[in-house]
Structure formats: C-alpha cells, structure tokens
Symmetry: C2
Subunit: 501 residues, 2 copies
C-alpha cells in the first residue's frame, strides 16, 4: 500500500476517533448526564473538538494531501483511494480556514446553549435562551466570515451541512415552491372535513408504543446489535462508528404518530449509517455525504414507505392488536387517511408532508434575517409569529411551540434547516428510481418485506458513505440533478387522491 | 498569576479532559453500548488515552515542571500551587517512562478483553478469556519493565494505584494478617450456628431495592444532581468531573445485601469525588489520591457506618415497610447479626469483613505468580481453587464464581487488588479518628444524621483531592502511618461480640 496514503489514514483515524468520542459525549449529555455535569462537559467537548480540528489542519496532513493529489491519477475515480484524496482535500480546504479557538469556543458555547434551550423550552421562557442564541449567532457569523469572499454570508454555514449548495440556489428553489405549496394547503383547507384523525389521539401506553416501534425498526432492517434507542427531548440519530448507530425518540402518550413516525424517521437515518462500507471506517468518509441526502433516507422510510397504503396493509392489523380499544374498529383506509391528514400546525417534526416545507422556509428566512442583522433577537418571537400567520394561517400561543421548539439553533446548527426540504425533494427522486428498478416493490412493502428496497439503497447510496459529493451521488443514481418537480407532483397526486381535490 | 503555572494548568486541563472523556466512553461501554460497538470503542479509547499520554509527556510540560519546581519555594507546602507542582512532577516522572504506543495498546487491548471477560463470565468459559488475559499480563509486564531497575517487577504496577507503596511492604503486611485472620475465621466457624442470615434470602423486588438504596444514598449525602446510578455486571464508581460522579450497581432479587451494601460502598467512593475542592478542577489533582484511600471511604460508609448497630436503628424500620413480608417480623438485633454473619464464601464483593481480606491475599499472591511466570495461565483456575481451599476451606464449582468473578484483570488492573485491604485498614484508622473528634457521632448515625461525619471527611480528606500523597494525608489526619492493628482489633471486638467468642 502507498505509504503516504497509509500515513494519512492513520492521522485521519485519530481525528475521526476524537470526533466520534465528542458525538458520544454529546449524545450522553442529552440522554443520561446529570444536570450538574453540564459545565465540565462543555469544556470536554471544546477540548475534543478543538483537538480534532488542530490535529486535522496540520502541515503534515496538508503536505500529504498535496502530494497524494498530484499522484492521484494512479487510482480510478470511483476507488476508495481517489475518493479519500478528493474528500480530505475538500475538508482540509474548508477546515483550515477556521481558527481552532473558534471551533473550541463553538463547542463549549453550544453545549451550554443546549442546556439553556432545554430549560427555556420546559419553562416556556425565551429570555432564558436569548443570550445563548445571541452568542451562537455571533460565533456563527465569525465562522462564516472566515470564508470571505463569498456570495452570501450564509453560504459557508449552509456548506457545512450541504457542501456545494449555495444560498441563492436554495432561495430560488424555495421561492419556486412556496406559492404552489400555499395553494395546495389552501385547497386542502377547503376540504378539511374529508379527513378526520381523531383516532390518533387518546391514551397510548408508552411501553407498547416503544415495543411496536422497535418491531417496525427491526423489520425495516435496523440492526440493534449495532444500535439502540433512547429517549430525548428532541429525537435524533447519531453514530460513534458504523457498528454503533443510535436513535432517540420522544414519546407522547396522547398522540400516536409522534413516536411512531419519529422512530421510522430516525431509523431511516440509522440504516444509512449502518449500511456504509466497513472499508471506509475511520476515514471521515464513513458517514452520510450531506444532510440533504441523509434526510432523503429518513423521509423515504418515514413518508414514502411509512405513510403509504401498502405499508399499513401489513402493519395495521398488528397495530390493532397492540391498541385494540383505540383502533380495533378502525378500517385500514380510515387509518391511512388519518395519518396523512394535512392541516397547518405549529410543530415542524409533526407536520404533514404538504405543510412541512413551509415550516422550513420560515426558519430559513428567519436565519437569513438574523445573520444579516435585519432581524434583532428581541424581535424573533414576533417575526416567527408573523411568518406562521402568513404562510400557515396559524400562530403559536407560547414560545415552546414557537421559536423554542427546535434544538438546532442551540447546538449551533444554523444553515441546517434547508437540508430538510432538500431531503424531501431527494426522497421522491430516489424512491421513483427504486420503484422503476425493483420489481414488485409495492407488493413487497405490503407484505412487510423491505429487503429489496434496503438492498437497493445500500448498493446505490449507503455503501458509498461520503465517497462522492451529494450532486455526484444523485446524478449516479437518478441520472439527473436535484429537482423539486417530482416532489410537488408526488404531493399533488397523493393529496388529490386523499382529499378528492 | 504566575504565567508558567497558568500555561501548565491549560495544558493539564486538555489532558484531564481527554482522560475524563475516556472514562465516559468506558462507563458507556459497560452500561449502554450495543455489543457491535466494541471494536470501534476500543480504537477510540486507545486514541483518547494515547493522546492524553502524548500531550502530557511533552518537552514543554517537562520544561514548565522543571522551572516551576525550581521556584516553588514561593508557595507554602500546603497551597494548591505547591501541591500541583509536586503532583505533576511525580506524574510526569512516571508517565514519561512509558511509551505512548504501549498506553494506547493497553487501552484497546483491555477494552476488548473486558468484552471477552463479560461474555466468558456469562458462558462460564475461562478459555474464552484466557488469550485476552495472556495479552493483558504481557503488556502489564512490559509496562512494569519500563521502570527498571526496581526491587520487584510488581512494584511499578502497584505504584499506579497506590503510589509509593512497595510490594515488599504489602507482602509483610499480608503475611502479618493472614494467620490471625485464618484463626478468626476458624473461631467463628466453630460458632457458626450462633448467627443465621436466612432472612436476607428471598424474593426482593428490584425496583424497591433501587428506590431504598437511592434513599440511603441521598441521606448519606450523595448529590444526584451531580451523579446518577446505573446497572452493570460489576459495580463501580467513576467520574467525569467533580460535578459528574456516577455509581453503578448490580441487583440480585434473591439476596438483599448485594445491592444494598454495594450501593453504600459505591456511594462512599462517590462522596469522596464529589467533595473535592472545585479549585482543583481539571488539574489531575481533582480525584482521590490513591485507591487505598479511596477504598477507605467506600468501606467506611459500607461497613463502619452501614453494617453498624446505630445505622440500622434508624433505617431498619424503613426497610421493614419496604419489605414487610420478608422483614416485618425480624428484630433489629436479628437483622444486625444477619448482615454481619461471617462465613467463608466464594464471591469477594459479597464477603463479610472477616473473610474479605483473605480473598484479596489470594488474588495478590496469584498476581505475583502470574507476573513472575511461576504460574501459567492454563493452571490459574486450579491455583485459584487450591488457595481458596487452603485459606477459606471452600472451592468454586465453576470459573464464573472463581477466576472470572472480578472485572479487574480484564481492564488491565493488575496491582489493584492489594488496595482493597489497604482501604480496609485505613477505614478503621480514619473512623477511629472521626469518632474521637466528632461529638455524638454514634448518636447522630442512629438518627440518620450523617452531616457531621461527611463534613469531617470533606474537611480532612475529600477536599484535598490529590494535593498530598496518601502517606502524607494519613499522617495529617491520624498522626500515624498505616497500620493493620486497629483493623484487626476492630474485627476481634465486633465479631467476639456477635459470635460470643
């Protein structure tokens, strides 16, 4: 083996180990850490992330990348070797622009901001969180400024989650979708009484919810020997290696879909991470390529599989035996329509497929205004309310259901939200392909057999990890670039059918 | 503030953060990690511990220590500053003798050995663990050899847990105690029918055990805002900062004392860590000074408080209401005698105070023989059996209750066991002092009031962390050096009374 490549991989392994250890500390902060531990944990996260950064942007690694890039012609473009050199060169180019001190300060600031957010959300007190958010935004701005010149100050933040995507592209895409979505929401509103979802509200024992959710998770292919489920305030998926991929869930005893679809969503993320080629372990390419592609996987399983008619042909009878009092008398069709009821609501993670992207557009627009300074933090709750009124016709009655509902800003994830919509668009483009290429996919799903679909996703997407850019990957699989048309068509077809539009 | 000292503290903080992060990864491996995660976890532990070592033994830190040591006369001996310089100089002297590669290899080897041990113990299959133990011993030997010349190959291993203690001292102490202990065991054997502990066996609901254990833990002073309890195969206490000190417990529904005294034991450790002065945070001195002194705290609370008559005057009525069917008809005196029943048994952590140290002496002798090569690993189970027959008159019927019962060897903790007996001896010396200095201590304990005792321990022991050596600390508190006589006197008094010897 090439000695320079081997050295590079050894150095990267150390950096990746630090990043994954940091991810574990963060997961543990959200699951089991006692409150008193927050301060020291913030310091430890700053140390781990700072060190990971410092040990990555060394002259040695820079030199290795340069030499390997010059001689990379010896490897075919698709090989792990050529991909690694391209991947690391891009990462190095980006990371070496940021001072390590800023990385460390972001880590400790967000660890504390996250605690403040959780407390503020519980107490419904935005003012408790505001000074932390202030600092997060200030540091994010500093981070972005390291990348000057840029077309837009937001570009470098977006790039962290969706490499190569530009703010202007997102703006164009969102403005193209917004009116069409608002029209569809209005059309559905006028037929609101056609679908009723009262059956999903009630008293659903949480242990039974958990057991049923895990049963589905295993059926979809989530390997619990290499994963586990815990409870957190905000559900997420994280991973400490290809062989240790965790999901978390939030249970609500009064509303069944919350944990049910939340679990399928996080399992979608987890299947991606568990399906990455072991050859890529500890290179940094051993993770999903971008948040948009990641979200395409979670949404594919949550919505295109999990909210489909065929899926519940198999699982609804089982769910009825778990909750006979609540669902025993409900038909498959009633259940299908109930879980797909579309109605403007306040909570993003529980929004239906039609309204969901409006929640994203709101957040994206607010982030741009906060970052530019056009919007002051004192005015954020009012601006939030204003946009919800404009786009969805409803307003939150408190900050917990408003600006405090998402964890993202507290963890410094500014530039993140847009990737949810990117994921939605890609999920349909990818699923369309899968349907073309897999014989009897719908029939398999109706029998509770997901082997074919998972195999197809593994071969075409998962196994590659971050070997190709998101754009390259989408092109390889679909032959096309990202496009909102298939998603909008999917929504029109599905909801015209459900609401007889 | 002295700029050199400040720089040193910054460097140490980074090293300590890595060590504490590593401790969290290890805790998580034993509590929640899915089995598939073991391989990557071992690599991550190797990286964190290797880095912590590499970043500690730098020329920069060496230089700072040298310069600060030269000018340390400006600080009084007892100050944090002078203590830090002495402490770090000793640590540096020791750690710089070991190659970082060996530190990393020990970390990954033991992370995997621990998994193998847990599996072997479950399957009662020593052969599954033997190759891992082989490697651990080999690496421990290599580690010891870094310290040549030494009086005994075992000295450097012991020194890691009990700095400044020599193998010859332990041998002398153990041989002085062994015959007297065996005689006491025999005397008690001849009066075995005087004490019956059948009431402690039965069906004790684990949730109730947990709740009662936590209730005692809080009463003793364990701050759950800065700690938590989880379940593991082998109970332990670990800490990620002064404000995050965890205990773990093993519950047995058929035998009440297991978790009850196990919890008090670990709480004793936890109180030590939680009581360290916040001024020492992130210096490396923010932890107990030696395992012997640590164990003196756990044993003090477990035995001198927890197995005393006055303690149960307060708690036994409460325990009776928790388990009315099992204990409703039992008297305080019957319960006190039952929990102090002495009888040779196979499991160290559940051994009574008289037989306990014989378990330690057996392990210590076996470790010496393994390390010297006099004992081959193939013959370890037979040697174990032989010693149990000689010293305690009983033999294990399987390896799970024999050589596989303790986690220590799997985590590379060779040289550790002796500190348990050191802790027993110190617990009595320290408690004797506390009794002299605290008015009405016994009366307070019988009222469930531990404030005075905890305050005394905090002031005299806990707050100092590792500012003084174990020897210095014992001298400061007791005016004496370590001595086995008070402990043996304590045993004779207590057990003569219980067994009317």
């Amino acid at each position: 083996m090439n000695i320079k490549l081997q050295t590079l991989k050894m150095r990267l392994a150390e950096v990746v180990d630090l990043q994954r250890s940091s991810a574990l500390l963060s997961w543990e902060q959200q699951t089991y850490m006692p409150p008193g531990g927050a301060k020291a944990r913030a310091e430890q996260l700053a140390t781990l992330q700072g060190l990971a950064h410092r040990l990555f942007i060394t002259d040695e690694i820079g030199g290795l990348i340069k030499e390997l890039s010059n001689s990379s012609g010896q490897w075919d473009y698709d090989t792990d070797e050529a991909s690694l050199i391209r991947f690391v060169a891009r990462e190095y180019e980006r990371e070496s622009k940021i001072p390590t001190e800023l990385v460390a300060e972001l880590a400790s600031t967000t660890a504390l901001a996250q605690e403040a957010w959780a407390s503020a959300r519980q107490n419904d007190d935005y003012s408790e969180f505001q000074p932390h958010l202030q600092k997060v935004i200030e540091l994010s701005r500093q981070r972005a400024e390291c990348f000057a010149p840029y077309d837009h100050l937001y570009d470098p933040l977006l790039d962290k989650y969706e490499p190569d995507m530009k703010t202007s592209e997102v703006q164009k895409m969102f403005s193209g979708m917004k009116d069409e979505l608002i029209d569809l929401v209005d059309a559905i509103k006028s037929r609101a009484d056609v679908v009723n979802n009262e059956i999903l509200y009630g008293d659903f024992d949480i242990d039974r919810q958990r057991e049923f959710g895990l049963c589905i998770a295993k059926k979809l292919g989530y390997d619990l020997n290499r994963g586990r489920q815990d409870e957190t305030l905000h559900p997420f998926c994280t991973h400490f290696s290809i062989d240790d991929v965790r999901i978390t869930t939030r249970f609500d005893s009064r509303f069944l879909p919350s944990a049910l679809f939340g679990t399928m969503h996080e399992v979608g993320h987890a299947l991606y991470e568990q399906g990455i080629s072991p050859e890529l372990a500890r290179t940094g390419m051993d993770t999903g390529v971008s948040l948009g592609v990641h979200e395409s996987q979670s949404r594919l399983w949550e919505n295109l599989v999990g909210r489909s008619r065929p899926f519940w042909l198999h699982f609804f009878p089982q769910l009825q035996t778990v909750f006979p009092d609540q669902l025993g008398q409900v038909t498959h069709d009633e259940f299908y329509r109930a879980i797909n009821r579309s109605e403007p609501s306040l909570i993003r993670v529980e929004a239906d497929e039609v309204t969901y992207n409006l929640h994203i557009i709101i957040r994206f627009e607010l982030e741009l205004d906060l970052l530019s300074g056009d919007l002051h933090l004192n005015d954020l709750p009012a601006a939030w309310t204003e946009k919800y009124k404009d786009y969805l016709g409803i307003v939150p009655h408190n900050d917990s259901d408003g600006v405090l509902q998402d964890i993202h800003w507290s963890i410094g994830a500014i530039g993140y939200f847009a990737t949810y919509t990117i994921g939605n668009l890609l999920s349909v483009q990818l699923f369309d392909c899968a349907q073309k290429e897999i014989t009897d996919l719908e029939s398999d799903i109706s029998k509770g057999n997901f082997d074919g679909l998972l195999y197809w996703l593994r071969e075409n997407i998962h196994c590659h990890g971050s070997k190709f850019t998101a754009g390259e990957l989408v092109k390889r699989v679909t032959g096309d670039s990202m496009d909102s048309r298939p998603y909008l068509n999917y929504l029109h077809n599905k909801y015209s059918n459900i609401y007889s539009l």
